[in-house]
């Protein structure tokens, strides 16, 4: 029995072994066959056919995998983007501020260059630059008076009645001086009066301010020719202002035969609504003309 059972077991074992060998042989044969067919170029059609059959499933799996990968990447990318965005915002803010500062510097540079040219063109005059921080530091609180405050004063050598100009022309004169600030009466103020002459015809007159920011040239003798477009300069008469400072341009002439004098409207070359930097002519000392004309003691 035992021998019989042993044979049976041995037969089964051998049968299994043979079956496994056969399977291995078949697989090996198929591999060799496939390899051979592939080398001979007969496997392409089979491959395409198989790929076509499995393509939808393959795509689904690939898609799912890609989605999973993208999701993972997106989570990383959002964090990176937030950080990157913050960095870019900081950078943009820095550049914006830098840009504004550069523009401001450019404007200041332009203004200073114009003032420098003006001082070079007038070497006989000693200028004290009155650089106002940002803009003019203040103006008269009343609407009917045209004065401005500037940030230079007695400590900078500024004194009362000194003329104030820009590269465009005459602005006004100092009427009040503090240690570090001064008040300037603009020539457009009705209380301002400047002796002037017309550049072409050398006709003299007096420039007075008018409410609304315009200038009027009065006391122009009858018979003298003045025309719109003529330039008006300071004449230096009276000793209150140096001569040859530009005041403005005649825009309109009023001439009536019955009047003693002609009158002309003058447009100032200075934009009084946009004053930011001015020059105080510190070397100019107003001539106390009237005091000099006072009779000496004991003389009448």
């Amino acid at each position: 029995m035992v021998g019989c059972a042993g044979f049976i077991f041995a037969d089964e074992f051998m049968e299994n072994q043979n079956r496994q060998g056969l399977l291995l042989a078949i697989f090996a044969a198929l591999i060799i066959l496939g390899f051979a067919l592939d080398r001979l170029g007969f496997m392409t059609g089979a491959r395409i056919a198989l790929q076509t059959v499995f393509q939808p499933a393959e795509s689904a799996v690939t898609d799912a995998a890609q989605r999973a990968e993208k999701l993972s990447e997106q989570q990383q990318t959002v964090a990176q983007l937030i950080e990157e965005n913050n960095n870019l915002k900081t950078e943009a803010n820095r550049l914006l501020i830098e840009n504004i500062q550069l523009k401001e510097l450019e404007r200041e540079n332009e203004r200073l260059r114009q003032l420098l040219n003006y001082t070079r063109n007038n070497p006989g005059i000693n200028f004290e630059a009155a650089s106002v921080v940002g803009q003019v530091i203040g103006s008269d609180p009343n609407n009917f008076l045209y004065t401005i405050f500037i940030d230079v004063g007695a400590n900078d050598g500024v004194a009362k009645d000194m003329p104030v100009v820009t590269h465009r022309g005459l602005v006004g004169r100092i009427i009040q001086v503090g240690p570090n600030s001064s008040q300037v009466l603009l020539i457009i103020d009705p209380a301002s009066s400047v002796n002037a002459l017309v550049q072409n015809s050398r006709v003299q007159g007096i420039i007075n301010g008018e409410l609304g920011g315009t200038l009027v040239m009065e006391r122009i003798p009858q018979g003298k020719t003045v025309s719109p477009g003529d330039l008006v300069l300071t004449s230096g008469l009276g000793g209150n202002f140096p001569d040859k400072l530009v005041i403005g341009q005649i825009t309109e002439v009023f001439q009536r035969d019955l009047d003693l004098f002609q009158t002309a409207r003058v447009r100032s070359t200075v934009d009084f609504g946009d004053l930011s930097t001015v020059l105080v002519i510190t070397s100019f000392k107003p001539n106390p003309f009237k005091q000099e004309l006072q009779p000496a003691e004991g003389q009448n």
């Binding site: 203040g138 609180p141 009917f144 008076l145 009040q176 008040q183 209380a191 008018e210 409410l211 920011g213």
Partner: protein, 152 residues
């Protein structure tokens, strides 16, 4: 200082608002005379200090404006806004005309032409806009101070 510093930036056709006048008129309409007159004088004094006008012009004009505006004290409902706001226009015109008259009396040249009228009316309109913005604040301030006084 705010008015002097801000006026170059708040101009409309060379005219800027008079914050102090608006404040004084609004305060005068809401408070009894003794509580108003000192502030009005102080406000006028400040204008005189910072202005090139003959000294005293604005102190006098401001006290007059405050006295006139105080006529309306306790004559409005506490919540009324439209009429008090509208009244700044005549008070602004009156203040400017009185100050110009005083300037002329004190020797400063004043050209009474269309330009003056244009400036006076423009200033009045700008002050009206400012009053619309500030009057509710003054109402609130007045009610707050009144509550404090009652509590004391």
């Amino acid at each position: 200082m705010v008015q002097v510093s801000l006026s170059p930036y708040l101009q409309w056709q060379t005219v800027h608002p008079n914050f102090l006048l608006v404040a004084v008129v609004a305060w005068s309409m809401l408070n009894p005379f003794p509580k108003v007159i000192g502030w009005a004088f102080l406000a006028g004094l400040l204008l005189d200090i910072f202005s090139a006008a003959p000294f005293g012009v604005f102190s006098i004009s401001m006290v007059l404006a405050a006295t006139a505006a105080n006529f309306w004290f306790d004559r409005f409902a506490p919540s009324a806004v439209l009429l008090p706001v509208a009244l700044i226009l005549p008070y602004s015109l009156g203040f400017d005309v009185v100050s110009l008259l005083l300037q002329q009396l004190l020797g400063r040249p004043v050209v009474w032409s269309g330009t003056v009228l244009r400036l006076v009316f423009s200033a009045g309109l700008i002050n009206l806009v400012v009053m619309m913005l500030l009057y509710p604040l003054f109402q609130w301030a007045e009610q707050a101070t009144r509550r404090d006084e009652i509590a004391i």
